[in-house]
């Protein structure tokens, strides 16, 4: 290798490239393979058919998150299919000697929340999981891919995937965030600016003073929704915050060994004169609390803005805007503020961490969930739940009329019983507002930050969280 300056992406790619494949793709070693109950059963079945063992069981880690109920987690689960999925994962992990972080382990949770918590996610790694929000782990300076079930099979069999090299777009968020504006608003603004397929063929490197000022949990929120921008993955360069987050975790070493590792992690950051395929800038000062109004995450606006009219859309976008307005039954040109909600959901791999719950609790203290609104708070993991309860956040939420639940993916995609009913409108801290996403084929989703969800729950409608005491 020459001495040329490299981005973090290039450094990590080069270290994990096993060989070039005839197709022009690279055989890339995946250092950490995370699995869960939805996308692994068929992969293990295929592995059995091929008569192959799991090649690196010690680099494979499992949890259950999508189908687990958030109220009663006792076994057998009431939903027969959910119980079957959970049993299948348990026996696959037992058969192959794979570490399973189930409810009894005390470390269960949404896979993209527990990875970093356990210190499994580290700078310089390649990480993959059968879930598109695997990009979350990029917050640590890892290259992390969401994959399909056939690729889960490939990983189990070989610890490798075939993937074509990506271009790298550096996104510099300048200035600083205004009060009441959070990491969720930053990534929504990026997706609005670059489009939901703007990132196709790219890895996104998030940089600039706004990103540098973010905590690790905030960086995870940003990286989490890289997929919604069409990017294959997204990351933030590791720094001292990354090191401090990982200190003392279960899967990071202690003392001198930790300091040595940490020094190595920092060298993974992009070189100052690395070349990028594209660089864009976004002014952090101009970002408002944001809300989606339509049927994909790119359909988002600031809380002071009005819902777009088809006339305002480009030719390309107009049909999509009309379809969205019809589905959501919103009035073009109306303010987004004041939109009534029926359900409020705080949780998900995007915004289900301790800092998210703290921000939401700060708002929840100011009032009570409006009559007729159903509000759920779902901590992202057993660990988040414990820490939140130690701080009394659950009491704040309950006193304000929010339900406090057990950890899981819950209403983000509603594979468990937490679902919308009929045409309900949900203020949600999750990552997708597609038609039917939250469990009702006709349900409607408004994505926003946890603080904005809490504010909407109390007001019974979308409000500007900055205006609340």
């Amino acid at each position: 290798m020459t001495d040329r300056a490299k981005s973090l992406f290039q450094k990590v790619w080069d270290a994990h490239a096993v060989r070039d494949l005839p197709s022009g793709q690279t055989q890339l070693l995946i250092g950490t393979h995370l699995i869960h109950e939805v996308t692994s059963p068929q992969a293990f079945a295929m592995l059995r058919e091929l008569g192959l063992p799991v090649r690196f069981p010690k680099r494979t880690f499992a949890t259950v998150d999508h189908i687990i109920p958030t109220d009663d987690q006792s076994r057998p689960l009431k939903d027969d299919l959910a119980e079957a999925m959970m049993s299948e994962l348990e026996h696959n992990c037992r058969d192959h000697d794979i570490q399973f972080f189930g409810p009894e382990s005390g470390a269960q949770g949404i896979v993209h929340v527990i990875g970093p918590e356990l210190g499994l996610t580290q700078p310089g790694m390649t990480i993959a999981c059968g879930d598109s929000h695997t990009s979350t782990h990029g917050a640590f300076g890892a290259i992390a891919f969401g994959i399909g079930t056939s690729q889960v099979r490939d990983l189990l069999a070989t610890q490798c995937m075939a993937i074509a090299p990506l271009k790298v777009r550096r996104i510099e968020v300048t200035g600083e965030l205004q009060p009441g504006v959070f990491a969720k608003d930053v990534i929504l603004a990026i997706i609005r600016k670059l489009g939901v397929n703007g990132g196709v063929g790219y890895a996104y490197e998030y940089a600039g003073p706004v990103i540098e000022a973010m905590s690790m949990e905030e960086r995870m929120t940003v990286c989490n929704m890289s997929i919604e921008g069409g990017a294959r993955c997204g990351y933030v360069n590791p720094d001292e915050k990354t090191v401090e987050y990982l200190r003392g975790r279960r899967y990071t070493p202690d003392d001198d060994a930790f300091e040595q590792k940490a020094a190595g992690w920092l060298t993974m950051a992009s070189d100052p004169d690395a070349a990028y395929d594209d660089v864009v800038e976004l002014d952090g000062n101009s970002i408002e609390p944001s809300i989606t109004w339509g049927i994909h995450p790119g359909h988002n606006i600031g809380v002071s803005e009005s819902i777009p009219t088809p006339n305002q859309a480009t030719d390309e976008e107009r049909a999509g805007v009309e379809e969205a307005l019809e589905y959501m039954d919103f009035v073009a040109g109306a303010s987004i503020a004041g939109t009534p909600i029926d359900v409020a959901f705080i949780g998900s791999c995007t915004n289900g961490r301790l800092s998210d719950l703290r921000e939401a609790a700060r708002v929840a203290k100011s009032g009570h969930v409006k009559d007729g609104v159903r509000a759920l708070v779902v901590p992202g993991s057993a660990d988040v739940q414990r820490q939140a309860e130690a701080e009394g956040l659950h009491e704040i939420f309950r006193a304000a009329g929010f339900q406090w639940r057990e950890p899981g993916c819950s209403m983000c995609l509603a594979m468990n019983p937490d679902k919308l009913r009929g045409r309900e409108v949900c203020a949600s801290s999750s990552n997708r507002n597609f038609k039917g996403r939250q469990g009702s084929p006709t349900g409607r989703t408004l994505l926003m930050s946890p603080a904005m969800v809490a504010a909407a729950a109390i007001a019974g409608e979308v409000v500007d969280v900055r205006k609340i005491g």
Partner: protein, 201 residues
């Protein structure tokens, strides 16, 4: 067609009648709603393709249109398959009966999943795609042929150049789209790469 000795399946072309699902940014939640992903096998997934959209259309959805019931090629708009990495989406469409897709563009993970299943995804320019959609709706019986080798789409109107990434084309033609075997061939180069990493070795 597969090679007797190696068992590799070479995908050189797909030919059949076609169906059309219009609209951009059709996401994986629409293609297969999450509640149908609770099966531990893919066997039954075909029934549920576009289930919510079809219910809402009360029999008028293209996938419920009798005239297109034998279609093995699906023609779609831009950014098709955006959203989740769930392979359940192409699995549902494949088990519904589709073996290939022609579109304006495809979301990256969806396209990768299709390749893993040996399902070609090829792109056409805006005008040609619009013409193809109109033509198929007017004459559902016409044969459409996707030629992976030549990188073309042929219909009654003639042959058009289509977009398909070189690497994907190679994988389909060579049979390496079924990736496990190819990846295994690296042998202990895998272990050597792993051993050189500070967090494994």
């Amino acid at each position: 067609m597969s090679s007797e000795e190696t068992g590799l399946v070479h995908i050189e072309s797909v030919e059949g009648t076609a169906n059309v699902v219009r609209g951009d940014d059709i996401d994986t939640d629409r293609i297969i709603p999450a509640r149908f992903m609770k099966d531990i096998t893919f066997d039954d997934m075909g029934r549920h393709a576009f289930e919510d959209a079809r219910k809402a259309a009360k029999g008028k959805h293209p996938l419920d249109d009798e005239r297109f019931s034998d279609a093995s090629i699906l023609v779609v708009g831009r950014n098709f398959g955006c959203g989740s990495s769930r392979e359940h989406a192409p699995q549902a469409l494949m088990r519904f009966g589709f073996q290939a897709f022609v579109g304006g563009s495809f979301a990256e993970i969806f396209a990768g999943n299709c390749t893993s299943l040996g399902l070609p995804c090829v792109t056409l320019g805006e005008r040609e795609l619009a013409n193809l959609m109109d033509a198929i709706e007017l004459d559902p019986t016409q044969l459409v042929r996707i030629d992976v080798t030549a990188g073309t789409v042929t219909s009654r109107a003639g042959t058009m150049q289509a977009g398909i990434p070189d690497g994907v084309r190679s994988q389909l033609l060579e049979g390496s789209w079924d990736a496990t075997r190819v990846l295994l061939e690296a042998g202990d180069a895998i272990e050597k790469t792993a051993a050189a990493l500070p967090y494994i070795g």
